[in-house]
Amino acid sequence: MTSVPDTDAAGRVLSADGTPLKQSLNRALRRQKLRALALIAPLLIFVLVSFVAPILDMLFRSVENQLISDNLPQTVVILEDWDPNSGELPSEAVFEAFAGDLQIAISKKVHTRIGSRLNYEKPGISSLFRKAGRQVKKWDIPNDGPYKEKFADLNKGFADIEVWRTIKTYSGAYTNGYFLNSIDMQKGADGAEARPENEQIYITLFIRTLIMSLAITSLCILLGYPVAWILANLPSRTANLLMILVLLPFWTSLLVRTSAWKVMLQDQGVVNEVLVWIGLVADDSRLALINNQTGTIIAMTHILLPFMILPLYSVMQTISPTYLRAAKSLGATDWTAFWRVYFPQSIPGIGAGSILVFILSIGYYITPELVGGTKGVFISNRIAFHILSSLNWGLAAALGTILLVVVMALYWAYDKIVGIDNVKLG
């Protein structure tokens, strides 16, 4: 019996049957890896389909602009030679190509979609294309030109240089227009420029969303910490019972909750009535607690509080009461024992709760819409508007992408400052 394994000519260690040991090890491991992969495959596929794919789709939509180049192919090519700053309309060749492209688009019923797409950039184009559709399909192309006049007769909009500038600006298959729009800019005659002040809204909303989400998170910490502490220090039977109360907001429908907030917070609501009755507030200067930022902060804190309490509670449960006793036996007052010994150990719970609450609140839109009035709405409300109502999904995707990037940047900053391994759900 020798303790030195056999080796081959190249000096590789061999296994008992003469194959190189590395190779048989790899073979053995590969089988394990394959089995592991097969086990996680359903989850992996689920995550890819339901999470990664939509995000990639969103990223793609935020720059995608193929509708125009696909459906006005000849126009777009010829339009390249036209200088929008020349002060003149494009040449007859462009109009003839446009007539041809448009006729095909009409037969495919996509001309109104092109109109809607361009209408996001310049109001009026939507009806221009819709109305043109009814006439242009009757034209005999290329025999009844010249088309420049024919289009001008059809609608004076086609004789507007700005319309053609818009078509040219958005003729590429990809555009940064949605992103520019998302940060209150637009594609002007000379590249990117700021939007007129009376149309600037997104930057304000992004900042407001971040500040208010931070406020909500802080409030959740302040309110949730003592509650979690009490829960963690009660006998588990009582704690479980009280936990139901903490989770109660999840069980009530949004409409019931909204009505409840209104009953509580409005001018003639319970809170104001009580304050007036005990004389803290004059009858003619009741507090505005709803339909503003206060309303959003109160309502969102109420909804999101459990997301703070639960991780805090489960982290606090793991902190043995012996630590506090030890601190006291070492001479620390109650406060010092809490602040130097207990609190630092509960920070992972605060971290986990804060990340949950902050990320959830950044994406909330229904509650701010219902109780936020005008000053208490978030960026997500605009995203929802563009998804549900204006159908400007490209802009919604760009706004969503920026939000995603902001969240990831904050996450990165959190990791740098606090450390992400210092986050615990229990």
Binding site: S320, T322, Y323, R325, A326, A327, K328, S329, L330, G331, A332, T333, D334, T336, A337, R340, V341, P344, Q345
Partner: protein, 366 residues
């Protein structure tokens, strides 16, 4: 000690009672006093009230009735952080978010001690527990024994005169536990501190203590130095609890010349030392240590009573032999004999006669 008018008592429990629910007493009428520098162990099964006593002394529980005095001053109403008592907890309770040095520095910081003084003391105490290198580590990076040393150091660093230890070695393996027993004892003796030590491990109690208080049912059953406890248990609980023990039940036939003659229930007469029995006719439980049983007739008094026994089992345990016998109808009678060159190995199935010195057989309460 001379300055104390409590007769040298440094720590004193005076008729202390404790109840959690207002119906049952966990601690019943506890009286205990220990002088400065004593190493006292509270020993008892779980639920016997020993930990409650320790917690009352530390200030985490309040006595329902009675006084606890420290250096002559009643401390019932002094909060724990003002008592200046060092404490070592069962699972060490080292603060996981602090390094070893920070842990040790903590009690000094809360006493508003200057930085350089703190560092010097921390360094000193680390050396005391032979952990000088480990100041920068986190508790989680230490082994159980190392954590134990740090916990001990932390209870010592602020120079407490009284240190409480709540089963501090419970989480260690046997070998490490034995090392630490000596270590703790050494340090306590070197520093001259008073230690109240709680454990349910009798070996630990016997090895380390100046005196041992055996707790059961909320009372101290016996308070005595280890040797006295082992050799002269005052009642059958202590006899059972401390060390291995054979018990036989019977009735006192007569007491004469300080020797009680006991008629065993399973048949046979034996000589005993009357401890808790005073007159003939009383029921008693007699206790004989396995190593004090003799089966070599030449080593007994000629007129000593003996019992017939049947060897059931012989176990070779290295340093000793352990033999199980059937005696007076009971088949759990154990004898231990030293593995000496001339020692007899009893054959299972053989019939022998056993006996003992009357003073080794204690007739206790039934």
């Amino acid at each position: 000690m001379a300055d104390s008018d409590q007769g040298g008592a440094f720590v004193e429990f005076d008729r202390v009672q404790k109840s959690y629910d207002g119906e049952n007493l966990v601690v019943k009428d506890l009286n205990l006093s220990l002088p400065k520098g004593e190493f006292l162990t509270m020993l008892g099964p779980s639920g016997s009230g020993k930990t409650t006593c320790l917690m009352m002394l530390a200030g985490f529980e309040t006595a329902t009735n009675g006084d606890i005095r420290l250096d002559g001053q009643p401390i019932n109403n002094i909060p724990p952080h003002k008592r200046g008592i060092g404490m070592v907890f069962q699972n060490y309770a080292l603060f996981p978010h602090m390094t070893v040095a920070e842990n040790l520095s903590f009690p000094l910081e809360v006493r508003k001690m200057g930085k350089s003084e703190r560092e010097a003391k921390v360094k000193h105490v680390l050396e005391l527990v032979q952990m000088g290198e480990f100041g920068g580590r986190r508790p989680s990076q230490l082994s159980g024994g190392q954590q134990q040393r740090i916990a001990l150091a932390r209870a010592l660093v602020f120079e407490a005169e009284l240190v409480l230890m709540d089963e501090p070695l419970g989480a260690l393996d046997k070998q490490l536990r034995e090392t630490m027993q000596f270590e703790i004892k050494r340090i306590a003796d070197d520093l001259g501190i008073t230690v109240v030590y709680v454990t349910h491990d009798q070996t630990e109690a016997l090895t380390m203590s100046d005196r041992v208080a055996v707790f059961e049912d909320g009372r101290i059953q016996q308070l005595a130095p280890p040797d006295e406890l082992y050799e002269s248990p005052q009642n059958s609980f202590v006899a059972q609890f401390i060390g291995e023990n054979n018990t036989l039940e019977g009735t006192v036939k007569e007491i004469k010349n300080g020797i009680a003659l006991v008629q065993l229930d399973g048949g046979g007469l034996i000589d005993c030392k009357p401890v808790n029995v005073t007159k003939a006719g009383e029921r008693t439980r007699v206790s004989i240590r396995p190593e004090r049983v003799e089966f070599d007739k030449t080593r007994l008094h000629a007129d000593a009573h003996t019992l017939k026994a049947e060897v059931l089992e012989f176990i070779y345990m290295g340093d000793i032999f352990r033999t199980r016998l059937r005696v007076a109808g009971q088949d759990d009678f154990i004898i231990k004999s030293r593995n000496a060159p001339d020692q007899v190995r009893l054959e299972p199935g053989s019939e022998i006669e056993i006996g003992w010195l009357a003073e080794d057989c204690r007739a206790l309460d039934a």
